[in-house]
Symmetry: C2
Subunit: 364 residues, 2 copies
C-alpha cells in the first residue's frame, strides 16, 4: 500500500427512499439493512481498508452524524472526519476534502465514493479500483466508474462512453465520456441498455488531487477559492469554524453537474463488480436473497403464510411478525413506524411527501 493513495467517503445523505428504516436522524449509510452485521459505512470502510491505509480514509458527512461516525468506525482518525454544517450537495464536499488533503499530500491520488452502496463482488471491485487508482496517479484525467448495465434500470443515471476512444489499462477499458444522462423512463432505459454505449453512473470517482483541484478552479472557481483561502486553518482548531463560514454562503451543486459534465478530461472506466446504489426497497429486493415464495425477509421471530414477492423487515428481533395473505407488499417495522404498503417504487416517495405536508415531519 502506497501512502499517497486515499479514499474520500461521502456519507452525508439521508436515503429518504428507504424510509422508514432510513431516517433524517439515522440515515441509510449507518444502517445494516442487509442484516450483514455491518452498516453500509462500516462495510465501505472495511472494503477500502484493503487498498488504502486506514489513516488515509476520509469521511465527509453532516455535523449531526459525527457521533454515529465515531461510534461506527472508531478506527478513522478524528482529523479525517470532515463535518459539514449544511447540505450543499457533492461539489463543496469534494472541494473541502480536496483542499484539506492537498495541504497534507500534494501527490495524493484519491477514490471518492458514496458510503451506502452495495458491492457484490468485492475482489473484482478492489482489483478494478486499485488499477484505476494507480493509473490516476500519473494521469490528468478525472475518472468515473461506469457499471456495465444488466437491465434497463430507470433508477440510475447513465454515462455514454465514446467507444472510439477506448484505452485499456490493466485489462480495464476506459473511454472518453460523451454525455451524462439523468434517470430515464423505461422506454428510454431500454434504448440506452440495448445500445451498448451506456454505463450506469456509480458516483465513484478516481483522480489525483492536482487534477481535480485544477478542474474545480476552472469550473467552480468560487467554491475552489473559498476552500483554498482557508488553507492555513486545516488541521487546526479553527478549521471547523472557517469551513462553517464557507458552507453558509456556498452554492449547492453536484460534482457531476459542476465539473464532470463540463470538463474535457473526464473518462469512464467500464466495470462489472455487481453494484447497486441500493437507493430503494425495490433495488434491495432485486439484489437480496429471497425465500421460496419470493419474499425478502429480514426479521427475527416471524410466521409468514400465503405471502408472496414481498419485503418484510423488522428492527425488533424479539417482536413476532405474523403476516398472512399479502402479495407484492412491503412491511417494515421500526421502533416508531410501521409501514404496510404495496411494493412499488413510487409509494415511499409519495408517503414521505405526504408526511412532510401532514404535520408528521418528525417521522422523516
Amino acid at each position: 500500500m502506497a501512502s499517497n493513495k486515499y479514499c474520500i467517503i461521502m456519507a452525508g445523505g439521508v436515503g429518504s427512499r428507504f424510509w422508514p428504516v432510513s431516517r433524517n436522524a439515522h440515515p441509510k449509510q449507518f444502517l445494516d439493512i442487509l442484516g450483514s452485521g455491518r452498516s453500509f459505512l462500516q462495510a465501505t470502510v472495511d472494503r477500502f481498508s484493503k487498498i488504502v491505509p486506514t489513516e488515509n480514509i476520509l469521511i465527509v458527512s453532516s455535523k449531526q452524524y459525527e457521533k454515529l461516525i465515531i461510534e461506527q468506525v472508531p478506527q478513522i482518525p478524528k482529523e479525517n472526519i470532515l463535518l459539514e454544517s449544511l447540505k450543499r450537495n457533492t461539489a463543496p464536499c469534494i472541494a473541502y476534502a480536496t483542499y484539506k488533503l492537498y495541504k497534507k499530500d500534494k501527490d495524493a491520488a484519491v477514490v471518492v465514493t458514496p458510503a451506502d452502496h452495495l458491492i457484490l463482488n468485492e475482489d473484482v471491485f478492489l482489483e478494478t479500483t486499485e488499477t484505476v487508482l494507480n493509473h490516476a496517479c500519473n494521469s490528468d484525467c478525472l475518472f468515473t466508474l461506469g457499471i456495465k448495465p444488466t437491465r434497463p434500470e430507470t433508477q440510475y443515471g447513465y454515462i455514454q462512453a465514446n467507444k472510439a476512444t477506448a484505452e485499456i489499462v490493466g485489462g480495464h477499458a476506459s473511454y472518453q465520456v460523451k454525455t451524462f444522462t439523468e434517470k430515464p423512463d423505461l422506454e428510454m432505459a431500454k434504448v440506452l441498455y440495448s445500445s451498448g454505449e451506456f454505463l450506469w453512473n456509480s458516483g465513484i470517482f478516481v483522480w489525483n488531487l492536482r487534477t481535480i483541484k485544477a478542474e474545480l478552479e476552472a469550473y467552480l472557481p468560487d467554491i475552489a477559492a473559498s476552500f483554498a483561502d482557508i488553507a492555513e486553518y486545516y488541521y487546526t482548531e479553527k478549521e471547523q469554524q472557517k469551513v462553517d463560514e464557507i458552507y453558509e454562503g456556498c452554492a449547492s451543486v453536484s460534482i457531476d453537474y459542476g465539473v464532470m459534465e463540463k470538463t474535457l478530461r473526464c473518462r469512464v472506466f467500464e466495470a462489472s463488480f455487481g453494484w447497486s446504489d441500493l437507493g430503494t426497497w425495490e433495488s434491495l429486493y432485486a439484489l437480496g436473497k429471497k425465500d421460496s415464495s419470493g419474499n425478502l425477509v429480514n426479521a427475527g421471530k416471524k410466521m409468514l403464510s400465503d405471502v408472496k414477492n414481498s419485503i418484510v423487515v423488522s428492527s425488533a428481533p424479539d417482536k413476532l411478525m405474523v403476516i398472512k395473505g399479502l402479495e407484492n407488499f412491503i412491511v417494515i417495522n421500526t421502533p416508531d413506524v410501521l409501514l404496510v404498503c404495496p411494493r412499488d417504487e413510487k409509494q415511499i416517495k409519495a408517503i414521505t411527501a405526504d408526511l412532510a405536508i401532514g404535520n408528521l415531519g418528525e417521522f422523516l
Copy 2:
C-alpha cells in the same frame, strides 16, 4: 339499592380469538380494546355498581390475574375477589361464589355475568337486569338473558323460547326454554334467526341463591358437595387452600351444560339492549365506529390511504402507522406482536393454533 342484591362477575377467560391484543398474561377483560378509557372489567363493575352496592360485587377469576384485578378495580373488597387455581369452566366458578355468598347472605339474589361483554344501551340493560333481579328474589326459576337477534350470527349460541309459556314481568317477557343450541353454521343461523323463536345466549344469569344451590345439588352433586363441605372456611385464612384442593380434583364443566340444559326451572328473558360478547375482531368490527372508508381504527399517529373495510389497532400511541392499499385486512400492533392478515373469522384461530405448535407459544 337493597343489600341482598349481588353481582358475580366471571373474569377468568383468556379471549384467545382477540389475539394478539388479548394474551394469556393479559386477557381481553383487562383491556380497553374500544379505546373508551376503561377496560371491559372496569366497565362491567361500573355498570353493575349502578344496580348493586359495590361491596356486593364479587369477581371470580384466575389466581394469575389477582394483581390486575386489584389494580383495575381497587374499590372491590379483597374478600370479594375469588381466585381459581385452575381453569374449570363456569360451573365450579359459580358454585364457589354461590356457596361462599350463601354463608353470608342466604336471601341473596344474584346476577352472574361475564366480564368482557359490550353493552350498547346501558339504560335499557340496567332497567332489564334490575327488573329480572327483583323478580328472581321470589322465584324458584333460573333466568338467563336471551338477546333478540338482529342478524343470523354464527358466533353465538342460541336459546329456543317456548312462546306458549310467555309471562310478562315489568314489561319484559320471559319464556320456558325449549333447547340450547351451539354456534350454528350460516344456513342454520338463518333458519334460527327467521323463526322468531330463538334468542342469543348472552351467558348472563339471574337467580336467587337458594334456587341455584338446589339445582347445583340436583345436577352437579359432587361439585356442590365439595363447596358445601368447606363452608366453615369461607371468609377465613384457610379459604384459598381449601378451594385450591377442590379445584385440583374438580370436573371442568360449564353451567350451561351442567345445569341450565338439564333443569326444569330454566326460563329466558327476552332482552334488547345492544349486546355483543365481542368475542372476535369481527364482532368488534361489526359494532365499532367506522370511518368513511369502512375502517375501524384505534391507533395514535397514523396515515391511511387506499385502505378499506379494515381494522387497524395499535397499542403504541406514538408509533406512526402508515398503511396503504389494503382491503378487508386486520393490522394489529402490540408491544411484541405485529399481525397483518385478512379480516376473516377463521384467521386468528388458525394463527394461534399454528403458534402453539410452532414453538411460539410464548406469544399466546
